[in-house]
C-alpha cells in the first residue's frame, strides 16, 4: 500500500513539474522569433543632435544565425557587402574586389551599433534569464545574463510585450555594470503570424547626443537563399 502511494505521488509530481514547465513561456525563443527575418531592405540613419549625419541603405539577408548585408546607397558605399557566418565577420570591398576580416566588436560603419549588435543577434544562444518581473499590462521585465565572456554585453534588461511577443526596450550593460546602450523597438507590424518591430532605435548612453535608427521594409520571413549564400565563397561572387 505504502509503495503504491509512493509511486502515485512520484508520478503526480513528475506530471505537475512537466505541466508547469509547459506553461512557462520560452521568452528567449519568442524574442529571437520576433526579431528574426529572412530578408528586408534596411535604412540605417546616424543622428547627432537629432540631425542625420550619415545614412546607409542595404539589403539584409538572414538564415538562422548567419547574416549578410549588401549596401545599395550612398553612392560611395554601393556594392559593399558584409557577412557574419556566426563565427567570423567579413567585409567585401568592391573597389578592389577585396575581402577583409573584421573584429566582432568594431563599431558598425560608424554607427552606435557594434557589429555584434547587428550581426550577432541570438538571445537563446547568448543569454539566460536570471530575473523575471511582471510590470502589468502584459509587460514583463527580463534580466538576462550572458552565458560567456564572448557575448558583447554581460547584462541586458529587457521590457517584453507578452501579448504580441515583441521586445519594447532593451538596456545593455558592460561587465562593470555600466549602462552602455539602450535599444527601442518601434513600429510593430504583424507579418504572417508574428509581430515584428520595423524600427529599431539605438541610443548611445555614453554620448548623450547620438542615436542610430534602423528602418526595415519589404520584410520577408520565408527562406529564399541557399545555405551557400551565407559563406565566404559566395560573398566574393
Amino acid at each position: 500500500m505504502r509503495t503504491t502511494i509512493l509511486i502515485l505521488l512520484t508520478g503526480f509530481i513528475i506530471l505537475f513539474v512537466n505541466d508547469v514547465r509547459a506553461q512557462t513561456p520560452d521568452y528567449l525563443f519568442d524574442l529571437d522569433k520576433s526579431i528574426y527575418i529572412e530578408y528586408a531592405t534596411m535604412r540605417m540613419e546616424m543622428l547627432k543632435n537629432d540631425r542625420v549625419v550619415r545614412y546607409y541603405d542595404m539589403e539584409f539577408y538572414r538564415s538562422d544565425n548567419k547574416m549578410r548585408m549588401e549596401f545599395t546607397a550612398p553612392a560611395s558605399e554601393k556594392g559593399r557587402r558584409m557577412l557574419n557566418d556566426n563565427s567570423s565577420l567579413w567585409m567585401y570591398l568592391p573597389r578592389t574586389s577585396k575581402i577583409m576580416k573584421l573584429p566582432f566588436k568594431q563599431s558598425f560603419m560608424g554607427s552606435d551599433a557594434s557589429n555584434a549588435d547587428l550581426m550577432r543577434l541570438c538571445f537563446k544562444n547568448d543569454y539566460e534569464i536570471v530575473n523575471n518581473t511582471d510590470k502589468g499590462n502584459a509587460v514583463v521585465q527580463l534580466e538576462l545574463k550572458a552565458k560567456d565572456l564572448e557575448v558583447a554585453y554581460s547584462k541586458v534588461i529587457l521590457l517584453y510585450d507578452t501579448k504580441r511577443k515583441v521586445p519594447i526596450e532593451q538596456e545593455m550593460f558592460s561587465l562593470s555594470n555600466k549602462l552602455i546602450k539602450t535599444m527601442f523597438y518601434e513600429d510593430i507590424m504583424k507579418i504572417g503570424d508574428t509581430y515584428i518591430p520595423c524600427t529599431i532605435r539605438i541610443k548611445e548612453e555614453l554620448q548623450k547626443n547620438t542615436e542610430t535608427k534602423m528602418y526595415y521594409t519589404n520584410i520577408k520571413k520565408e527562406k529564399s537563399k541557399p545555405a551557400e549564400f551565407f559563406t565566404l565563397g559566395s560573398l566574393r561572387r
Partner: protein, 380 residues
C-alpha cells in the same frame, strides 16, 4: 576621333544615368566614379637613382579617371546570370593626346543553385587576405600606397563549386603562347573563427604552392599568407653590380610570406601592421652592390622596398560617424633601410571622398624627398 568616341561614351552615360534614375530597375545596377588626383613632387637632388633629374620628372602631375560601372543580373529558377562591366577613361596632366580607354572588368557569370559558378572574361583576382601585400596573388597589380585603389582584372575562365563551408575553384588564364599557359586550383575552408585556403598554380611551366590563414577575434584579427614558388619577377644584382634578369635566375623554390594583424583599441582608434619576407629579393650585401652601380641598374628600383624584409604599419583615428579619418602609415625595409612615412587625411561624404596624402622618404636611393597628392572622388 578618339576624343569624339570618349565624348559619345560620356553622353551615353549621362543619358543612361537620367533614364535609370527614373526607371529604378532592380536588376540593373550602375555607378559612375570620377577621380581626379593632383600631385606635387619635391624631387630629391641628391638621389643616386635620379641624379640631376635625368628622368626629367615634373614637380606637378595630375591623373583624371572616370569609371563607369554597370551590372546586369537576372535569375530563372535555379539559374542566375550576371554581366559586369567596368570601364576606365583616364587622362594625364589634362593633355589632349594622353587620354586612354580600357576595361578594368568585363565578364559574364553564370550561377546554378547558388553552388556552381562559371566566370568568363576580364575580372579582378581576389586572392589573399593581406591588406597591403598579397604573395598568393601572382598578378602583381597593386599600388600599396592606395588601399582603395581600383585594380585591373585579367582574362580568366573559372569554375567554383561551393559546398557547405568549402569552396573549390579552378582557373584557366588564356595566353597567346602555349608556353605561357597558366592554370590554378584553390580550396577554401572555414571553421569557427578560422579561415584557410590552399592553392596550386601552374605558371608558364613553373609552379607555385600557396596558403592563406586568418583568425577573427572580438578586438583583433590575425592572418598569414605565403607561397613557395620556383619562379621570380625580381632582378638581382651580382658582386660586380651587374643586373641578372628574372628569367636568368635559378629555378629553385623560394618562399614569400606575410604576417599581419588589425587591432581595435576603441571605436575610433585602430592599428594595422604587416611583415613581409621575400627570399628572392636583395639582402644587405646586395643592396650595397646595387647602390654602388646606380643609376645604371634602375630596373630593380622600388621606392618602398627592395629587400627581403619589409614592414608596414598604419595607425588610424576615425570620427564616430566614419566621416573623416587620419592615418599615419609607414613602410620600412630592414635590408635597404628605406623608410617612407605617410600621413593621410580622408573625408568621406555620401557622394564625395577627398583624400590628402603625403609621403616622406628618408633614403638616398629615393627619387623624391616628398610627394603630396590630393585625390577627389565623386560617386554617382
Amino acid at each position: 576621333m578618339k576624343i569624339f568616341g570618349i565624348y559619345s561614351i560620356l553622353f551615353f552615360l549621362l543619358f543612361a544615368h537620367i533614364q535609370l534614375s527614373i526607371a529604378q530597375e532592380s536588376k540593373l545596377n550602375y555607378q559612375i566614379i570620377l577621380e581626379t588626383k593632383g600631385e606635387y613632387n619635391l624631387i630629391d637632388e641628391n638621389s643616386r637613382v635620379n641624379p640631376d633629374n635625368w628622368m626629367k620628372l615634373n614637380e606637378f602631375s595630375s591623373l583624371s579617371q572616370l569609371f563607369p560601372i554597370l551590372e546586369l543580373k537576372d535569375t530563372w529558377g535555379n539559374l542566375g546570370a550576371k554581366l559586369q562591366a567596368e570601364a576606365n577613361i583616364q587622362n594625364y596632366n589634362f593633355a589632349k593626346d594622353s587620354t586612354n580607354f580600357s576595361f578594368q572588368e568585363l565578364y559574364t557569370q553564370l550561377e546554378f543553385k547558388g553552388k556552381h559558378f562559371f566566370v568568363f572574361g576580364k575580372k579582378r583576382l581576389d586572392w589573399g587576405t593581406g591588406m597591403i601585400w598579397n604573395p598568393t596573388n601572382f598578378f602583381i597589380q597593386k599600388d600599396p600606397v592606395r588601399i582603395q585603389n581600383r585594380l585591373e582584372g585579367i582574362f580568366m575562365l573559372t569554375y567554383s563549386y561551393l559546398f557547405g563551408q568549402n569552396t573549390l575553384s579552378f582557373y584557366v588564364f588564356p595566353e597567346k603562347k602555349g608556353k605561357d599557359f597558366k592554370a590554378a586550383i584553390k580550396y577554401d575552408y572555414s571553421k569557427e573563427r578560422v579561415d584557410v585556403s590552399f592553392s596550386f598554380l601552374e605558371y608558364g611551366r613553373n609552379q607555385q604552392f600557396g596558403y592563406d590563414i586568418s583568425y577573427g577575434g572580438d578586438l583583433f584579427t590575425a592572418y598569414s599568407e605565403g607561397v613557395l614558388k620556383n619562379y621570380t619577377k625580381s632582378f638581382i644584382v651580382d658582386n660586380d653590380g651587374t643586373l641578372i634578369p628574372p628569367q636568368s635566375r635559378s629555378k629553385k623554390f623560394r618562399s614569400e610570406f606575410v604576417l599581419g594583424t588589425t587591432i581595435i583599441f576603441n571605436s575610433n582608434l585602430s592599428f594595422s601592421g604587416e611583415y613581409r619576407f621575400r627570399e628572392d629579393y636583395l639582402n644587405k650585401n646586395d643592396i650595397k652592390h646595387y647602390k654602388k652601380y646606380l643609376p645604371g641598374n634602375i630596373e630593380l628600383f622600388d621606392p618602398l622596398s627592395m629587400g627581403k624584409h619589409s614592414l608596414f604599419g598604419n595607425l588610424e583615428y576615425k570620427d564616430t560617424y566614419a566621416r573623416w579619418s587620419v592615418n599615419l602609415r609607414s613602410f620600412y625595409d630592414i635590408s635597404s633601410n628605406q623608410l617612407a612615412i605617410s600621413p593621410v587625411g580622408i573625408l568621406s561624404l555620401n557622394n564625395l571622398q577627398i583624400e590628402l596624402t603625403s609621403m616622406l622618404y628618408n633614403n638616398s636611393i629615393a627619387i623624391y624627398d616628398l610627394q603630396t597628392s590630393l585625390l577627389v572622388s565623386c560617386f554617382f
